[in-house]
């Protein structure tokens, strides 16, 4: 086997390294900076040039080497390269070639272009390791152009009604995607957790609109009709209430389900995900030409059964990863 599934994570015996390990190891190849993939405590890290700044910001002073996309490198008996996964800026699929047998660990991915992340590239392989966060036929994402229309329409409506728009989105990826989709209607205010990530991304050249950091001293009434972007857990908090009359929203793939949106008691739910939807997963897998598919975090058993019926040699892999969550805590 080119890659094995061990209690520490996905392991490559030929190169003696792990991919997104969930327990401390010597050498970790990291697909992207989300906390469940880029964990603390490994000896040496390797990631893309584009993912490295956020990882340094989050993990501190660790031993981190970085490499450009699509660049082949030799690690022991394995040839390794990183390829865009379209999940968040800097995210990658990791291709591992051992003696001509090619495996790809996709990490988290999505196939539609969000206008911000490096666009997903299908990589031909023999075995493909896929996530399954939204692997049910009820998940079909709204087109990016329509999302833009909805988001800006909601903002305009709120401005006309004298309300602030407050949207909950995770700090790496989703928040910037929201910003990139906004028209130039008014000021964009960001919670500190998000503005810190913005600063890192701007420094590496990711084009983002101007934003205002909200601090304890910020006069929140000085920005009528503003768009406020904060982590989901801040919606409805004392922090958010200080903005006065407001309409609230979440941006998440889970907003496709009315029940979940209603349970979170926000006014609007925008169906915006960093993960692939049902058609996306199926197209991505077909495009790899892989015969073997390993299914990690999400609706693993349902999706594995479906893939088997489609003729794939599919297997469930238990992992330490987390799907997209609305709950307090880190994004995935």
């Amino acid at each position: 086997m080119v890659l094995q599934f061990t209690e520490h994570g996905i392991y490559c015996p030929a190169g003696d390294f792990y991919i997104d390990p969930w327990k401390p190891v010597d050498r970790a190849l990291i697909t992207h900076g989300h906390a469940d993939h880029a964990r603390w405590g490994h000896k040496h890290y390797l990631a893309t040039d584009a993912a490295a700044p956020v990882m340094k910001h989050r993990l501190g002073d660790v031993s981190l080497e970085s490499v450009a996309y699509d660049t082949k490198m030799q690690i022991g008996g394995a040839t390794v390269s990183f390829h865009p996964a379209g999940h968040v800026p800097g995210s990658a699929q990791i291709r591992v070639d051992v003696g001509g047998e090619v495996w790809v660990a996709a990490g988290d991915y999505k196939v539609v272009d969000d206008g911000l992340s490096e666009a997903f590239e299908p990589i031909p392989c023999h075995a493909f390791i896929t996530e399954s966060t939204f692997a049910l036929p009820v998940f079909k994402w709204t087109a990016q152009s329509e999302l833009k229309r909805q988001l800006n329409g909601w903002w305009a409506e709120n401005r006309a009604a004298g309300k602030v728009s407050i949207i909950g989105a995770y700090s790496l990826g989703k928040a910037q995607r929201v910003m990139a989709a906004l028209d130039d209607q008014g000021p964009i205010l960001c919670h500190a957790a998000i503005e810190n990530t913005n600063a890192v991304l701007r420094a590496q050249g990711v084009p983002l609109p101007d934003t205002v950091l909200v601090t304890a001293e910020t006069d929140r009434k000085a920005f009528p009709g503003a768009m406020v972007i904060c982590p989901p857990s801040a919606i409805g908090s004392a922090w958010a209430r200080k903005f006065g009359p407001q309409s609230t929203a979440f941006a998440s793939g889970w907003m496709a389900l009315r029940g979940i949106r209603r349970r979170r008691a926000v006014d609007r739910g925008f169906i915006m995900s960093d993960h692939a939807d049902w058609p996306g997963l199926n197209t991505a897998i077909a495009a790899t030409g892989a015969e073997k598919v390993f299914v990690t975090h999400g609706y693993t058993s349902v999706f594995t059964r479906w893939l088997r019926e489609q003729g794939y040699d599919a297997h469930i892999v238990d992992s330490g990863y987390q799907g997209e969550t609305l709950d307090d805590g880190e994004e995935a």
Binding site: V138, S247, L257, R258, I260
Partner: protein, 532 residues
């Protein structure tokens, strides 16, 4: 149905009551009267006849979506709503037709006369002419159960505003057993005679739970107290030589409780009573356990044996109509005096019993009486202001329920199951057990009582502590102790533990208690002894 879909979106896309009412009001001001009538019907629980069974709908939707049926069935519990699941899996449509709501309903009702192939073709054709939101609404109409984010109360308020009428008046007009086939928008909402339908009930006046000490209500002499009975609220109407019994949920229960027909022998025509339907032990002159009444509730017609075993009475507490006149505006004490004149002294054969007032001089004395509620087969006390009119709906101020504290037991969680609809991605349904020696004996399920945050916390825990999966149910490591509150306990041969609880819920997460300190099976049997 584009305007109806727009209304739905407006209601669904806000959590603010005023915005919902405003959207509904705008709809009532502009829509076709035939669509308005159906909208009123749908939001007051009058659904069209189900034209296609859901098994067929599921298989047609799966077929059209190009997925196997098992995959549809796996997706459904995660979405939590059949109409929505179907709408989501169907392939996307570019554009859609604009047929009015009442025409879509007529379209669906015409299906009942067709064979299966014709129905399938018609429904697949309809799905092809609707966008995702319209499909969801179309499927909701098709599968019945139209709860979409606005209550009957708010719908009524919007309708009252749109037609410049009093809300209580409109509430009254919308009661009774009309259907969109038997009335028009004009005759139902705009015409001025709510008694045109002789079976039409008055809106029930509903009490709030007491929030403060009764002393805050003012002088005791302004108030009257009675037991809060543990039965079914009922409104008995005697008009035109016939009788009608309505539940609080506006279900006509007349045939379920044939005993009450005899009320016509004892009371004059043009009488409407508010009271509690109770299974009654005539010999002991006290209510039978609620389980006896439960046997009656489930049955549309009643076998003789059950009629003898669990006879019912109406324990009357208010008079709403006297000699054909609506007397709801009179003070409670006056209505009550008239009621007593009718009910007191009726022969034992009459299915009517007065719900007596409880004498008390001060609030402390009443508080002590309240402690004896369970001995009197009551759930607590009702307090009503002597000078108050009979209002419509749940209104604060004049009627209060003052229930006794629930019974509680500390139990260990042993199984978890995920919720539906709003709570589809959380574990919300749990099974609890008590100790019998070293063994944990399951004795109740409970669903409610925790905050969303607590549900999320316990969900994360369940995922990490699953021992085994049985379909949607997971057995979990016995660890967490919860205080279970309940209103009553009964013997139940159907349950493995031999007991059944009434209204069990999680009242406290006892994070302070190790599992060894949960209650025992002996404790549970002890409670059955005392309260069963």
């Amino acid at each position: 149905m584009k305007d109806f879909a727009q209304l739905f979106m407006a209601i669904d896309q806000t959590t603010k009551t005023n915005a919902k009412v405003a959207a509904m009001r705008a709809y009532f001001e502009t829509a076709d009267p035939r669509d308005k009538l159906w909208t009123i019907a749908l939001f007051s629980g009058r659904r069209p006849k189900r034209a296609v069974n859901t098994t067929l709908l599921r298989s047609w939707a799966a077929e059209l979506a190009g997925i196997p049926l098992w995959l549809f069935e796996e997706s459904y519990p995660i979405v939590g709503d059949l109409a929505e699941t179907i709408a989501l899996v169907l392939p996307d449509n570019g554009s859609s037709d604009d047929l009015p709501l009442h025409e879509w309903i007529a379209f669906q009702q015409a299906l009942t006369a067709q064979d299966e192939d014709a129905r399938k073709a018609a429904i697949i054709d309809a799905w092809g002419r609707l966008d995702t939101t319209e499909r969801f609404l179309f499927n909701k109409l098709l599968t019945g159960g139209f709860r979409i984010g606005i209550s009957q109360k708010l719908m009524t308020r919007a309708l009252a505003q749109a037609t410049a009428q009093d809300e209580a008046e409109v509430t009254h007009k919308l009661m009774g057993d009309w259907t969109p086939e038997t009335v028009t928008f004009e005759s139902l909402v705009l015409a001025n005679d709510p008694t045109s339908d002789q079976s039409r009930p008055y809106p029930f006046y509903l009490a709030y739970q007491m929030e403060t000490e009764p002393a805050a209500l003012g002088p005791p002499s302004d108030w009257r107290a009675e037991w809060k009975w543990d039965g079914i609220r009922g409104q008995l109407i005697l008009r035109g030589g016939a009788h009608y019994l309505w539940s609080r949920g506006e279900d006509l229960m007349t045939d379920r409780f044939p005993e009450l027909a005899r009320a016509l022998d004892f009371l004059p025509d043009g009488t409407v009573l508010d009271g509690e339907v109770l299974a009654w032990d005539h010999a002991a002159h006290r209510p039978l356990p609620f389980a006896q009444l439960q046997k009656r509730i489930g049955r549309k017609t009643v076998p003789k044996k059950l009629l003898a075993e669990a006879p019912v009475v109406l324990r009357a507490y208010d008079l709403l109509e006297d000699q054909g006149a609506d007397i709801r505006a009179l003070p409670y004490a006056d209505r009550r005096a008239r009621l007593e004149r009718y009910i007191k002294g009726l022969p034992a054969a009459a299915p009517l019993i007065l719900s007596e007032w409880i004498d008390f001089d001060d609030w402390d004395a009443l508080a002590q009486i309240r402690e004896t509620s369970r001995d009197n087969a009551a759930e607590g006390l009702m307090l009503k202001r002597a000078g108050a009119p009979y209002l419509a709906g749940r209104k604060k101020g004049d009627w209060w329920k003052w229930k006794v504290d629930p019974l509680v037991i500390d139990a260990v969680m042993i199984y978890a199951q995920s919720g539906h609809g709003r709570r589809a991605n959380l574990f919300t349904d749990f099974t609890f057990a008590v100790w019998k020696g070293e063994e944990l004996v399951p004795f109740t399920k409970a669903y409610s009582g925790l905050t969303d945050k607590e549900f999320r916390e316990i969900t994360a825990w369940v995922k990490k502590n699953t021992i085994q999966r049985f379909g949607p149910v997971r057995s979990v490591t016995p660890h967490h102790v919860f205080e279970i509150a309940f209103e009553g306990i009964q013997e139940s041969p159907r349950h493995k533990s031999g007991v059944a609880l009434r209204f069990p819920r999680m009242s406290r997460w006892r994070q302070d208690k190790p599992k060894e300190e949960a209650n025992t099976y002996e404790d549970l049997l002890g409670m059955l002894e005392v309260y069963g």
